[in-house]
Amino acid sequence: MGRPLKPESEWIERARQGDTDAYAQLVRQHEQVAFRTAYVILRSPVEAEEATQDAFLKAYRALHRFEPGAEFRPWVLRIVANEARNRRRAIWRRLRLRERAAAEIPSGGAAPSPEVELVAQEERTRLLAAIERLSDDERVAVISRYFIGLTDEETAAVLGVPRGTVKMRVWRGVEHLRQQLEGQHG
């Protein structure tokens, strides 16, 4: 998760004045974390791509409301998460998301691993499967923290909840993972 090499405030200011090149730089800087955030919520790469594109366009139109000096990443991630959640609600109305997602969740571990890593590989596969069985709130909190690398503040922005709630969801998520994994061993 690299940080900008050039002051973001300069890109933001230029983008505000209609410079699409400057805005593209901003998008490029944050596209991976934004796409992954949308994917965690939507669990479909196609839906996540569309949601992220739409969110970046909405953010562009809303730049005049962006507070100078504030952090751009949590601000835009909030817009991405809102867009993804709105899209998910629409999907839920049309389809049963669980059924869709089950078909699209990657199985993981596609790359061959050395024999010595087989055990670790199996554990990892079990862990990833267990994460998928968490409740949505806990799953998004755990993946945001451990796999996307968001700070608690950014996760709070994504989830639209206070930081304390984020900590609680992560803690509960990890606890539920532990229970699942111990249950499998037992």
């Binding site: 209609g18 790469p45 862990l127």
Partner: protein, 240 residues
């Protein structure tokens, strides 16, 4: 708990996220296209309204026919205006990557058609920026004088060309071997298009403003040359 957290931390980057698409490019293109359309519409909105009102007054039943006719070729958007927008003469064609005909045929998933009887194109270009299946542009002539520009693309992308017709330039409905087309002629018209690099290019009548656009078998074609309507149609009909 502590072990599990350690394991989770050690798996950083191991979650099977799908590859991140090139969102910056997609967003930039959408912004450029929207801005281009807005500028053109603003420049011509008042005049277009007046022109349409005049048309409607003269022929009350003509409204849908006029609108349908001007929007009948996918990828080409045409507006009428009493005055051409003040655009700098910036004819630096950004047709895309230069390549051979053989290479072009390998790179696009549709058959490339070229006009007969005009020799080989001087230059051939492929742009994959503006429409999903790529745009092929064949330029005829030589370094000093471009005689003909022939463009083709598969129907399905957004607008590729925005044309603004000023006073003295006309558009008329034609057919090319039975396929629908539009012949733009008379005085110069402004052309605005998104180039292969995603930038906006504007020109006023690159080749005296005689242009034929038509659609056939799921593809759109644009032919711009200093030709009469009859010759342009003949040339277009040679393209199979």
């Amino acid at each position: 708990m502590a072990d599990l957290e350690r394991t989770l931390r050690s798996l950083d980057g191991a979650f099977p996220f799908p590859p991140t698409p090139d969102l910056a490019r997609a967003v930039e293109l959408r912004l450029r296209r929207r801005a281009t359309r807005r500028r053109i519409l603003l420049a011509s909105a008042a005049a277009a309204t007046a022109a349409l009102a005049a048309t409607l007054a003269a022929s009350p039943g003509a409204r849908s026919a006029v609108v349908d006719f001007l929007d009948s070729i996918p990828g080409v958007h045409i507006e009428r205006a009493s005055k051409l927008p003040a655009v700098p003469f910036n004819f630096v064609p950004a047709y895309g990557e230069r390549l051979s005909l053989e290479e072009a045929r390998r790179r696009v998933d549709y058959p490339i058609r070229l006009p007969q009887g005009v020799g080989e194109p001087y230059r051939l270009f492929l742009s994959s920026y503006t429409v999903p299946h790529g745009v092929i542009t064949a330029v005829y002539g030589d370094e000093r004088h471009t005689r003909l520009v022939f463009t083709q693309w598969r129907v399905g992308g957004g607008d590729l060309f925005f044309k603004v017709l000023g006073p003295g330039s006309e558009a008329t409905r034609v057919t090319v071997d039975g396929a629908p087309g539009i012949w733009l002629f008379g005085k110069r018209h402004a052309v605005v298009f998104v180039g292969a690099d995603g930038r906006e290019y504007r020109t006023v009548g690159a080749l005296a403003g005689h242009t034929l656009v038509w659609q056939r078998n799921g593809k759109s074609y644009r032919l711009e040359a200093e030709l009469s309507q009859a010759t342009a149609l003949e040339l277009a009909e040679s393209i199979h």
